[in-house]
Subunit: 293 residues, 2 copies
Amino acid sequence: MAKQLLGKEVTAALNEKIMGQVAELKEKGIEPKLCIIRVGENSSDISYEKGATKRCETLGVAVEKILLPEEVTKEELLAVIDKVNKDTSIHGVLLFRPLPKHLKADQSEIENALDPAKDVDCMTDGSMSGVFTGKPLGFPPCTPQACMEILDYYGIDCKGKNAVVIGRSLVVGKPAAMMLMAKNATVTICHTKTVNTAEIAKNADILVSAAGVLNSLTKDYVRPGQVVIDVSINWDAEKPNSKGGKGAIAGDAVYSEVEPIVEAITPVPGGVGAVTTSVLVGHVVEAAMRTVK
Amino acid sequence: MAKQLLGKEVTAALNEKIMGQVAELKEKGIEPKLCIIRVGENSSDISYEKGATKRCETLGVAVEKILLPEEVTKEELLAVIDKVNKDTSIHGVLLFRPLPKHLKADQSEIENALDPAKDVDCMTDGSMSGVFTGKPLGFPPCTPQACMEILDYYGIDCKGKNAVVIGRSLVVGKPAAMMLMAKNATVTICHTKTVNTAEIAKNADILVSAAGVLNSLTKDYVRPGQVVIDVSINWDAEKPNSKGGKGAIAGDAVYSEVEPIVEAITPVPGGVGAVTTSVLVGHVVEAAMRTVK
């Protein structure tokens, strides 16, 4: 039976570290603050906002919300971003995306209007450049960083290990590959055009699956001794849920056949997804710390 | 015997393409221009400058040189960069680095003062972000792009192939990996902390060696059927030179033992290095073309 890599354990340790940093900042008279900019009333945005707000409150980070109507103009939104850029009491900014349809053509311009120093959710080109080059130009996306936090917490040394990332998106796969390489792993990135993914995956010591395809990670992809980080959050209509019915979230792995083989694995839910919110709050605190360095 | 992938053949094709683009631009009244900024009298800078100038002249691209004394101040250099940013007759800028010691602490600030749209030699964070994200934010470094030009010219399809890059520098290894992935190769990046590089390299269909270590690529790293791109330019004190003595440049490969095994290989000299100057000039022309798009 594999060791379960539990998000809640990682988050508990991360939260403790963050609270220590917040206490240090408050001694210096700085209260770290996250600004959430939400356009419209998208239910998943609101749900994420609630979670982030609660986590900020728990950890002593202030939250300022700027709620804009669905029909906000590009100019109005850019003015808001300009204002938060200049507001030294705000250390990190979360802008929900995708933006409404009428702003889609300007999305990149809007995203890059934010100062990368406040870009705690990696939406600017500056943050992306930082992920690639290793410079502290912004912040990496929260999900791949959550994977790294899990590896760190469980003492999984990446140096010289073969790490395989399945997926090459800019929010997970590519940054995860860069972050694993920064930890001195030898990294292979597989994607939809890879012809022998199962064989490559089987050769991994650390396997990060971010395919976003339910049941794509079968027993053919794994071997004993592996650490599997299942990043994806898919909907499994057949999976029993907590209400006694069917339909629940699930990762890429066919958990029942992968888990008995590998050495360690993150469950879904309860794995990577459980760590991302604290990573986001950690970025706000780090952004505040950078202002006093 | 392996097919030799010759830089001069690739360059000839590339030059023809560039000259066609220059002709189109000139019909629109635009003369593409490269601005070379050189600080001091470093002999390798001067040598590169001569080569780039000559290639520009051959291809119909204008060159403006700004020569600054070794003791130029940060403010003076920033003023020059600001001027070339604003000069719409200049499409691409090449600034030789490393800068003199007294500017070293400010090197990143100086590099990033350049408009990424004119950054034909990939010195800005914006260009780096573009390499990572695939956005046309600047230009990739010339050396890894020269590798791609070689693959393209010789019709080597990367889709679904296993590509292995040895080296993770920001000027070659990492960008080469991103560019191979953009061509749908499955990419593995090996580096100094990789424990089984020979074994991984042997599994590659396309092997890009950018270790920068003379004789590091031996017969143990290769197998029949492989395409080897030897990027490095090392000094081999034992290699016979054209003057009948010893001492010549060489790649990573022990050419005499690798060449008989693999399917195709770039010689050093005469391979990748022979393509980079035209890639640079191509960037200037592309930068000019972007201004009219």
